[in-house]
């Protein structure tokens, strides 16, 4: 059996669950929206350097929102022993990870696509570097965050204070991709290319390395 088909089955199941309950998208979306609305009052909407601040605030909102969603999607598997159903199925453990990753990526990126225009309007930003750069940077940064977050949420799901432990595990490891994603978003808002290529390459390398590490370590994490 290949990895892709069961991974898509698992992601499809998460999507169906979400369609019925709207648990993740509603809580994550509302949280991210609250952060950007608050930021629009707290930070200047004019003046030099505001694009850098805006990009930082944007990614802070994305990070916390992603953490909220990832903790929830893994907790669903813990209820009624559903994770045991996955682990005793013929699906390779790697595809269980990929399935959860696809679902988390889908939920998080969908929320980000809704939040981005609201953020741009509220903070009076102009994606002068091109919307494609903003969307690409957001996707690549989110992939890195979600890869690390999915792995750590599997680790944290059996712990008592998983809501507190997940951010503690994810934040230090996600610093490089956060910095790179902020820089790419800043470039998208200012239109100044500068060293954006290097930041994009750093994001790409981070995504690739952590994807490989996560796929390699997830099966042993799932062993009792």
């Amino acid at each position: 059996m290949n990895w892709f088909a069961p991974a898509m089955t698992i992601a499809g199941k998460d999507l169906r669950l979400e369609w019925k309950t709207r648990d993740v998208v509603a809580s994550v979306g509302l949280f991210a929206l609250l952060v950007v609305v608050t930021a629009s009052f707290a930070f200047p909407t004019t003046g030099d350097g505001r694009e850098g601040i805006a990009a930082g605030v944007l990614w802070m909102a994305f990070l916390f929102a992603a953490l909220l969603g990832m903790g929830r999607t893994m907790a669903i598997e813990k209820e009624d022993g559903c994770i045991d159903g996955l682990l005793t199925s013929p699906a390779p453990r790697e595809s269980i990870f990929l399935g959860k990753l696809f679902a988390n990526l889908g939920f998080t990126y969908a929320v980000e696509l809704v939040i981005l225009p609201v953020f741009i309007v509220l903070l009076r930003l102009d994606p002068a570097g091109g919307p494609w750069l903003l969307l690409l940077g957001t996707f690549m940064g989110t992939l890195g965050l979600v890869t690390v977050g999915t792995l750590f949420s599997a680790m944290a799901v059996n712990t008592r204070g998983r809501e507190a432990i997940l951010p503690l595990l994810v934040m230090p490891v996600s610093v490089p991709v956060m910095i790179a994603a902020v820089k790419v978003s800043e470039a998208a808002f200012t239109g100044e290319w500068g060293s954006t290529t290097a930041w994009l390459l750093l994001t790409l390398a981070y995504d690739a390395v952590f994807l490989l590490v996560a796929i390699a370590t997830f099966p042993s994490l799932m062993e009792e």
Binding site: M1, A5, P6, T9, I10, K13, R16, L17, K20, T21, I76, E79, D80, G81, C82, D84, G85, L86, L87, T88, S89, P90, A91, P92, E223, E224
Partner: protein
């Protein structure tokens, strides 16, 4: 030592430790095809741990478990598909309907026609009438039947059930006993954990009793079962006073 036929289960020196706590200690067991085995013991004796290790859900700290001659640690998708596991948890998503849950697992099993497999399994377990209800809305007995329908989707050759009678009323328990009798074929291994001696004596053909992680009794169950019940109760009393 006799060679097991292809689909038998073999445990050799299986030890499972959680920190300093030994859940299973050096367990050796041969379960040939066609076996219908009841694993009994007090709470915390190691029954669930044994089933989890056989299902591949947990790895032994020492020792090995082989099914069909293949170590569970190295089990590929085909071998894992041969094992149907019913835990005391439902393994069902409460917000999905029974049909959606069964279809999901049928797809994970890689079945050629998942819808047909779901329809057949649902009919066998008499769950067709509530296939489109969310699992959360079902009674414990109904959920147990859906759980069994999930485990039997691909007609596995090894069926492991962890305390399947828990929470069932008499009628549901009787129909579960009938189903287990029906599942017991010469090619298949049915292995379940139980608390109730009377149940162990009314269907299974072999009783394995565990105390403190060790196999303390392993006897066939045919005829003259009174002494077995008495011996088992004696073992439990000894364990309780230790």
């Amino acid at each position: 030592m006799h060679e097991l036929p292809p689909l038998g289960i073999r445990l050799r020196g299986v030890t499972k430790a959680f920190g300093r706590q030994l859940a299973l200690a050096n367990v050796d067991l041969d379960i040939p095809p066609g076996s219908y085995v009841a694993v009994m013991g007090a709470n915390g004796a190691g029954k669930t741990t044994m089933l989890k290790i056989v299902s591949g859900l947990a790895a032994p700290t020492r020792g090995s478990v082989t099914i069909a001659g293949v170590e569970m640690k190295k089990a590929g998708p085909r071998l894992r598909a041969m094992v149907g596991f019913v835990s005391h948890e439902t393994m069902l998503y409460g917000d999905l309907t029974s049909r959606e849950n069964l279809l999901f697992h049928a797809k994970l099993l890689g079945l050629a026609d998942p819808r047909d497999a779901v329809a057949r399994s649902a009919e066998r377990l008499a769950v067709t009438s509530f296939l489109d209800k969310p699992v959360r809305a079902l009674s414990r007995g109904m959920r147990q039947r859906v759980t069994l329908a999930r485990a039997l989707l691909n007609e596995p050759t090894v069926i492991l059930l962890d305390e399947p009678y828990t929470g069932l009323d008499e009628a549901a328990a009787a129909s579960l006993s009938d189903l287990l009798d029906e599942l017991h074929t010469p090619e298949r291994v049915v292995m379940l954990t139980l608390h109730d001696v009377a149940r162990a004596l009314s269907g299974p053909q072999r009783l394995v009793a565990i105390a403190s992680g060790r196999v303390v009794m392993d006897r066939p169950l045919h005829g003259g079962t009174d002494d077995i019940a008495e011996s088992y109760m004696e073992l439990l009393r000894e364990g309780a006073t230790r």
